[in-house]
Symmetry: C3
Subunit: 137 residues, 3 copies
């Protein structure tokens, strides 16, 4: 069994953003030399997630609007008593989930034709990290 780990850093200029990280994951897979196994892609923060969906700008905006509708920014969240203003980002993160597993088959990310891996930032404008770990052989 082989294991390979890299950390990716993101620093978005917007507070909320989806960032396509599929080519990063492809590069890491190649660096790993692993051809059969699983790749974990997991945000290391509590206000960021990872989402697999279509790289179509309308969907990405629909998803952000949807998360904002369910978990609006600027409400009187209890978390704000600590001095923070990002209570919404924790709830958006709950809905999106913070990680995905990509199957690795025949040396490729075994994704469907429209599946794209996105870093989902809900409280950005600062450096944040994602761990990518490949397990297999």
């Amino acid at each position: 069994m082989r294991s390979y780990t890299e950390y990716l850093w993101f620093n978005t200029s917007e507070r909320r953003a989806f960032v396509n990280m599929t080519s990063d994951c492809e590069r890491i897979l190649e660096a790993s030399g692993i051809t059969e196994g699983m790749m974990l892609v997991s945000a290391m923060h509590i206000t960021a997630g990872v989402w697999v969906n279509d790289n179509e700008s309308g969907i990405l905006q629909d998803a952000m609007d949807f998360l904002e509708r369910l978990a609006p920014f600027g409400r009187d969240y209890r978390h704000h008593r600590t001095g923070e203003d990002n209570g919404d980002a924790h709830l958006k993160n709950l809905l999106t989930h913070h990680q995905v597993i990509i199957p690795i088959t025949n040396g490729k990310l075994d994704l469907g034709p429209w599946q794209t891996i996105f870093y989902a930032e809900f409280d950005g404008k600062r450096r944040k990290r994602v761990v990518v770990k490949v397990l297999g052989e």
Copy 2:
């Protein structure tokens, strides 16, 4: 370490449906010969998910109603400017998540007594695929 991969196809007669795929997963586990490890069950589409819950018809209908209440069909989603009408399905997919990992212990799917694995279709009536990959030994 051993690895085994199969692809399952679904073609639901309804636009939205839950399909019990537990016995498919049991058959794949047996075919894999793996007795300790993990099984990834992951939809390869962006409008379908995988959900582990109870095989009770009321719950399944409650869950579909719930997803419809949060992400209604037929709204004016931005994605529809591409000519699609399935914007709701992408959001239902976000909430449900598109994959699960089943632990494999002593040659069995290590599920609780009521846990059932469902394919969750949100934009059906066409052939769609799920990848099942077992890793272990």
Copy 3:
């Protein structure tokens, strides 16, 4: 490849609760002897989840309030025709997801500085189980 499995039991005094299980996971990792790999932490029930977020009491209360707002207790869910009253718990579970994967690197849970692993109980006051499986070497 090595594999190690433990089952954790929870019995919360409240119907709904978050229980910090990070130190349990650390202990299990040590018992496994595995230093590189992945740890699956997965609820074996259909009314309980696992969530990774910040160990800040305001966030935990915000998250419970949020889940209650989206999936309220006491509605006339179809599931209640079976005699149950926990239809809301199945929907809260759908949103939270029932499992996470923790990367294992250099013999440690490879979590970000604020990431804490919580058992999320939505229908407690009885014994319920989580499977923790470590795969790696």
